[in-house]
């Protein structure tokens, strides 16, 4: 049972977390349905089961802060307030998509919301996120940059280059490793020299070792708030390792058969961040009706956005030739 008398998070934030996680979950499920209907082509990497991480940061961050995520980034994009039709429309290759179909599922970008891109080559965006953080320091402004990545990413050079640089220059950045125990199809423990792929490397960069239950939205929120505050106050970078699990396979094509049935069952049945959070809300005496009203509201929003996306036109083929250059075009000779 929870200690209601000592609640540092409060009902307002709890309901924000609840609404946020539900939105991420229901949009991802919708994305999956739309695949099955062949309305979404290409590949796609769902973050089902990992909603508490993006969700907690979404609630904790401020307008103007920068986020960078991976190809598994639908949730992280929505968490900053991007529209559902912007995300689903992009997955479906429609004009209402965030980038009008020019980026696709793996590259969701919404600069107005601080979503500085989703990156599909492992490691690169850790170095790029340092750049927005460097800009905040250079301009003496207070934005915080947050960079999400997976456990597998801790084994590529860019991870190490980026952490070292962030530390030597005390950049206002939070690195968030979502350790879902697997890289693509290989268990991270089979290919990593340390037990905690991110946290055990922290000391090499004079960073604190932070491990958090990434499926506990409250714990995630507390950890996010602390790291964000540290960065905003000019006290440098943090590296967070959040333990989590993806419910589905790595990508659309992957049934995830390399994972033991017992393990999958345990995470789905006992450790689902959303099922567990619903219970917690009740423990905190939040009215069942308040909880389900939010559920119904989000369901309706997702349905409406799906219809908008389905009826949005496909892009004009003229789009192929736009925006290679800042002048809007693609010419390379006179």
């Amino acid at each position: 049972m929870v200690d209601i008398s000592n609640d540092d998070i409060g009902e307002i934030n709890r309901l924000k977390l609840w609404e946020m996680m539900l939105k991420l979950r229901l949009v991802e499920k919708k994305a999956y349905d739309l695949f099955l209907q062949n309305l979404i082509k290409g590949t796609s990497h769902l973050a089902l089961g990992q909603e508490a991480i993006a969700g907690a940061f979404g609630v904790a961050l401020q307008e103007g802060d920068y986020t960078f995520c991976t190809y598994r980034g639908h949730a992280h994009t929505l968490a900053r307030g991007s529209s559902i039709e912007g995300v689903l429309g992009e997955l479906m290759g429609r004009q209402c998509g965030l980038m009008k179909g020019k980026g696709g599922s793996m590259h969701l970008t919404d600069v107005d919301k601080g979503v500085m891109g989703s990156y599909a080559i492992i490691g690169a965006h850790l170095t790029i996120a340092n750049g927005t953080a460097l800009a905040s320091k250079y301009n003496k402004t207070k934005e915080v940059s947050v960079c999400f990545f997976g456990d597998g990413t801790t084994n590529i050079g860019a991870f190490h280059e980026a952490l070292n640089m962030a530390k030597i220059w005390d950049l206002p950045i939070v690195f968030v490793c979502e350790n879902n125990l697997y890289m693509e199809y290989t268990a991270i423990s089979d290919v990593t020299a340390v037990e905690h792929p991110a946290a055990d490397r922290a000391s090499a960069y004079s960073l604190e070792k932070i491990i958090v239950d990434g499926n506990d939205a409250d714990e995630m929120f507390r950890t996010a708030q602390a790291a964000i505050q540290k960065a905003r106050e000019g006290n440098g970078p943090s590296l967070i390792e959040a333990k989590t699990y993806r419910h589905s396979g790595h990508s659309r094509a992957d049934p995830g058969k390399y994972r033991p049935d017992e393990e999958v069952k345990d995470w789905l049945e006992n450790k689902d961040p959303i099922t567990n959070y619903r219970k917690r809300l009740l423990d905190y005496n939040i009215d069942e009706k308040v909880i389900s009203d939010i559920e119904n509201k989000i369901k309706q929003e997702v349905e409406e956005a799906t219809e908008i996306s389905k009826s949005s036109p496909i892009p004009d083929t003229k789009e192929i030739f736009t925006d290679v250059w800042a002048d809007g075009g693609y010419e390379w000779h006179n």
């Binding site: 920068y66 965030l98 980038m99 009008k100 020019k102 980026g103 590259h107 970008t109 919404d110 600069v111 107005d112 500085m116 891109g117 990156y119 080559i121 490691g123 690169a124 965006h125 850790l126 170095t127 790029i128 996120a129 340092n130 750049g131 927005t132 953080a133 460097l134 800009a135 905040s136 250079y138 301009n139 940059s145 050079g157 860019a158 280059e161 980026a162 070292n164 640089m165 030597i168 220059w169 789009e319 736009t322 925006d323 290679v324 250059w325 800042a326 002048d327 809007g328 693609y330 010419e331 390379w332 000779h333 006179n334």
Partner: protein
């Protein structure tokens, strides 16, 4: 009137850009306190301080990533990659991230940054510190490619590069760092996509870049003095954007075309130029386009080996004579 070396014009060009625009900063390895391994950035740290002249760790990906991220917010970074060969260790950031992010984001993100790098042979450094790699970047949509051949061009093109809203790779030729030029004015601006005529002539058009443009010019002087051949020499200065109009005009007048490249043969920039010439000037050509390149080998190190691998003035002279006189 001041006499400036190519090397000095690099640091002056950066300094001028930084004086004009507080958004410009400079980042690289050994660039500040040490003034750069080629001494091309001496004095910048003293003038602008550590906040704007940043000595970075040996982390090429982190350097270019940080430059890219900063550029995404509107700053105008100049990042140094010590030797262009090292672009290979951060090619993801260059070719996948910097080049494509504007397009993929449907124009939401603008990346006004300059990557400057020491390029080319002549120093007997061997195959990993001597390559001419303009063609690597030329083939990737989203990158502008600049290779100055003189101190004035360094100044004018760097000014344009820093102010350009798109990513620019600025290839400085190591063998030109010591070259000198008298300049009345150092606050120059040279638009991209404007080839420079280094030598006038009506018998053949020789097209070069950086060191090869300068060697072509010397060859043209010899051809005129000793062989009564008038070669027109075009220094492309930028490969992207490319001054196709000047190339076309010149080939249509001379009827003979030759490209001189420092890179190995396959897929060198001259192949694209040659194809464009064939496509646009076919009816005015008096013969096939000749490409002079290094043989398709990594660059060897010993004096005699490197000197015989990189196209020399003599080689250009001889090839032109063969072509014009049909020998």
């Amino acid at each position: 009137m001041a006499q400036l070396t190519y090397r000095e014009s690099v640091s002056l060009a950066i300094a001028q850009a930084m004086r004009k625009d507080p958004k410009v900063f400079f980042i690289g390895e050994d660039v500040g306190a040490a003034g750069g391994v080629f001494k091309a950035t001496v004095g910048l740290l003293e003038e602008f301080g550590k906040d704007r002249v940043m000595d970075a760790p040996i982390s090429e990906q982190a350097i270019l990533g940080a430059a890219m991220g900063a550029a995404m917010t509107g700053l105008r970074p100049i990042a140094e990659i010590m030797f262009s060969d090292f672009l290979a260790v951060c090619w993801d950031i260059v070719a996948n991230q910097i080049a494509k992010t504007r397009y993929m984001s449907d124009g939401q993100i603008t990346i006004p940054l300059v990557i400057r790098t020491a390029n080319g042979g002549g120093s007997k450094f061997g195959a990993q510190h001597s390559q001419s790699l303009e063609n690597w970047s030329m083939m990737i949509p989203g990158l502008k490619v600049v290779a100055p051949s003189s101190p004035a061009d360094v100044l004018g093109l760097m000014n344009t590069a820093v102010n350009d809203p798109d990513p620019v790779i600025f290839y400085e030729h190591k063998s030109l760092y010591a070259s000198k030029q008298e300049l009345d004015n150092t606050d120059l601006s040279i638009p991209f996509g404007q080839a420079n005529i280094l030598h006038e002539g009506s018998d053949i058009t020789i097209i070069g870049l950086a060191l090869m443009a300068q060697r072509s010019k010397k060859a043209a002087e010899i051809l005129k003095e000793k062989h009564d051949i008038n070669a027109k020499v075009l220094d492309l200065r930028t490969l992207v954007p490319l001054d196709l109009q000047t190339i076309k005009k010149s080939i249509n007048e001379t009827g003979f075309a030759m490209t001189v490249e420092e890179n190995p043969r396959l897929c060198g920039w001259g192949a694209e130029i040659s194809s464009l010439i064939t496509e646009h000037c076919f009816s005015n050509l008096k013969g096939p386009v000749t490409r002079i390149t290094t043989p398709h080998v990594p660059l060897p190190s010993a004096d005699i080996l490197e000197d015989n691998t990189i196209p020399s003035v003599d080689l250009i002279v001889n090839e032109v004579i063969k072509k014009i006189k049909g020998e």
